[in-house]
Symmetry: C2
Subunit: 314 residues, 2 copies
């Protein structure tokens, strides 16, 4: 038996045929064509599902869709999603009606978390925290073997834990949320800001101009000991260490797994967090947890979506 995992993005739909034991068997991608409206997007999703299921149509147990935005997982509804033409749209219903397979929708951060649980670094664990460092910071928590979503299903907003009351303004309206300091986008923003004062630096050089700086250029420049890169990484990892100390004190997890684009920096990101976090955790928590980058990389979306279907049918 198989699961189909659909990683629904604003520009691309990546869909995979997934075996619980063997992971991804086959995968395809199609443009989302969000500008053509909800019917066209549904059509494209269904098309990818048909492509990966060819020949095993009767062996598909469930379909999982990982979607950005605010999701009502109990009813398979996308409440809203900034880059998709869905507004209180019964996505699961529309897909399952066409494909005749039970369909589940989960927000992408929780899907990532479940993907790490079923296929990644957190396999077999009952207590772990997952963070995705991308444009924003998403999060998910498994505690006592349960995905923590809260009363209305909107919990685990780990990116909006406030770590500095005087920190930068966040998109959510607060100041000093960890997202406002340490997302990939804000990591790039610090580098841009610092480069205005110190224009001769390796980050700008690698990016080919201040405006083109992305977080990856910061970590690349760090390798040659660039001063601006160091300042940025110092700032970002210090805030992450404080946020993670909070999650550790609250959940007493055995793992914090970090995904999203910025996790590709690997040890350049993880090591400084590990060093700083010992300043922020209580002595009784020393040695109780690990911090690891996601092992799923490009497949995290498809595997996460599949894992969401697996979790909700367990």
């Amino acid at each position: 038996m198989y699961i189909v995992g659909v990683d629904l993005g604003g520009t691309e739909i990546k869909t995979g045929l997934v075996s619980k034991d063997k992971g991804i068997i086959k995968k395809v991608a199609l443009p989302t064509e969000a500008h053509l409206g909800q019917e066209k997007v549904v059509e494209n999703i269904v098309e990818t599902i048909k492509m990966v299921s060819e020949g095993v149509e009767n062996k598909i147990e469930a379909i999982g869709i990982g979607s950005p935005g605010s999701i009502d997982r109990d009813h398979g509804i996308v409440r809203y999603s900034p880059n998709l033409p869905f507004n209180n749209f019964e996505l699961a219903h529309h897909i399952s009606e066409k494909v005749k397979v039970p369909t589940f929708v989960e927000n992408d951060a929780n899907a990532f978390t479940l993907g790490e649980w079923y296929f990644g670094s957190a396999q077999g664990m009952k207590h772990f925290v997952a963070l995705t460092l991308g444009t924003g910071i998403g999060g998910g928590v498994v505690s006592h073997g349960i995905l923590i979503t809260g009363r209305d299903g909107i919990g685990a907003e780990l990116g909006h834990v406030i770590v500095d009351p005087d920190g930068p303004l966040c998109g959510c309206g607060s100041r000093g949320c960890i997202e406002a300091i340490a997302s990939a986008r804000n990591t790039a923003r610090w580098a841009k800001e610092f480069s205005v004062k110190i224009p001769e630096n390796k980050v700008v050089e690698l990016a080919g101009g201040i405006d083109k700086i992305e977080s990856k250029h910061v970590f690349e420049a760090l390798k040659s000991g660039d001063y601006v890169a160091k300042l940025v990484v110092e700032k970002v990892t210090d805030a992450l260490a404080r946020a993670i100390a909070n999650y550790v004190h609250i959940f007493n997890p055995e793992l914090i797994v970090i995904g999203g684009g910025m996790s590709k920096a690997g040890n350049a990101l993880i090591k400084p967090i590990e060093e700083k976090i010992s300043l922020y955790i209580m002595p009784s928590f020393r040695g109780t947890f690990k911090i690891l980058p996601s092992a799923l990389v490009e497949d995290a979306g498809i595997l996460g979506a599949s894992a969401a279907a697996m979790y909700h049918t367990r």
Copy 2:
């Protein structure tokens, strides 16, 4: 059938006979006599249990003990407790051996949380957060109907969520933990500090001297609009609002219940937190939760200990 709840403190043991439906039927108190060693403390605990059980000895289903300090609840062991002569002491075993009733030990913050769940403001809820504002700040969380304790049982350290990286040094070694800013002890400390600069104020007057200031004097002085009291309450409730916003973003609870000595201030404490928290929460969380003071007051310890026995035998 009944439960016996033992509220074990450094100076006093308060024990009650508790009915699941009717609450406390009978209660007694004896000095702990911690200075006389562990055997004497055990003897005193057993004595209180016998006193409340008289006549219904055969109807006691379980005994719950709420103890300060670090508790191994799975084995009923007090790992250590600052004001008790217990060091990796098998407290549950020693009590159950003498009384022949299953005995459970839980730390006082979690016991308080469970007490609110079974007997207090959180009855019937699956998602709530409990905070005790005393000498320190303790916490407990029920999420998805489960008490969150983490892999090693040491989670829910809500008092050590860092809300200000430049805040005061905390007993745990970090800076700016909510405990270091907003516990009852630190509320008194701010008032003492401010009173050095502004000695003519109502807080000092009510306390009868700077050194005698307690948090209750701050809230008492607030009633007459005292300037120093206002400054202190502003500082403390702002930090609490930020910490609670973090718990709300993480757990999406329907209630935050506040206990401990300082909760006796009631609305003088709750109202300013409610006002400030709207600055710190994401719009999607508006109206999803309430903040209430504990309704159990003096009986919170006994009811919490009983609830711990009920939870662990459920």
